[in-house]
């Protein structure tokens, strides 16, 4: 027997004592599948749509504030 064969034989014997047996694997599988699906955590922050709306409102307010008053292009004629 070569050194490699001798080592393979030792490793095979050792590995056989280390493998998870089928019954244990099934126990683990069953335990996991029996776990109820994870409930999504309650949101702790505002939803993204709220921030989009808020951002749009801020932008609109900034734009409005940075422009002068609209010129009267069509003045109402003065009447006597």
């Amino acid at each position: 027997m070569t050194n490699d064969e001798r080592l393979d034989s030792l490793l095979d014997s050792w590995a056989a004592t280390q493998r998870l047996d089928q019954r244990e694997a099934e126990r683990i599988l069953d335990a996991i599948i029996a776990t109820p699906p994870e409930t999504a955590p309650a949101p702790t922050t505002l939803p993204a749509t709220w921030w989009q709306d808020f951002s749009a409102q801020v932008t609109a307010a900034v734009v409005l504030a940075s422009h002068g008053p609209r010129l009267a292009t069509n003045p109402v004629p003065l009447t006597a």
Binding site: N3, L11, Q18, I28, L29, I33
Partner: protein
């Protein structure tokens, strides 16, 4: 709320059957602790179960890498928690962390037969070599599969496997 379906269960069972031996071997290699490896295996696949749709959507080689990365992170978390626990115990007892009883040392005194010698020799390998050797011997993974799991080229895996075997041969005096 996540709702699992029969399809989810079938997908998960397929992932579990396909990867559990390799993941278990990897966890065993990293921890050298059969009970810890079982606990970590369950925890790893519990995380897969919770994100089964996401994992199933990955290409096969990425699935392996994803699942093994979860296992690796859980081992790191466990080491950290264990180091903290030992340091706390040592502080309470007024001893240094190194002085805490080492189960490996106790075990070494108790075991004598050939398989125990193999176990000790493997336990004493550096973690990376030990993990690769265990994934090969216990998990029966190919170099390519080990490479996918550890994100290493297959050639590197083969070189490290050779290194591990050489060290074991020397340690166990296989050639005697």
């Amino acid at each position: 709320m996540t709702v699992t379906t029969t399809d989810d269960r079938a997908t998960f069972t397929r992932l579990f059957d396909e990867h559990r031996a390799g993941v278990h071997a990897s966890l065993l290699g990293r921890t050298s602790d059969a009970e810890a490896a079982k606990d970590l295996l369950q925890e790893t696949f519990l995380r897969v179960w919770r994100r089964v749709d996401e994992v199933a959507a990955l290409p096969p080689e990425r699935q392996r890498a994803w699942i093994h990365a979860v296992g690796r992170n859980l081992v790191i978390d466990r080491y950290r928690a264990e180091a903290t626990r030992r340091a706390t115990l040592a502080a309470v007892r007024g001893r240094t962390p190194e002085a805490v009883d080492d189960p490996d040392t106790v075990e070494r005194l108790a075991v004598h037969d050939e398989l125990d010698q193999v176990q000790r020799a493997i336990t004493d390998l550096p973690e990376e070599l030990r993990t690769i050797l265990t994934m090969s011997a216990v998990g029966e993974l190919t170099s390519r599969q080990i490479g996918e799991a550890l994100e290493l080229p297959p050639g590197t895996v083969r070189a490290k496997l050779h290194q591990a075997r050489t060290r074991l041969t020397d340690r166990l005096e296989v050639s005697r």
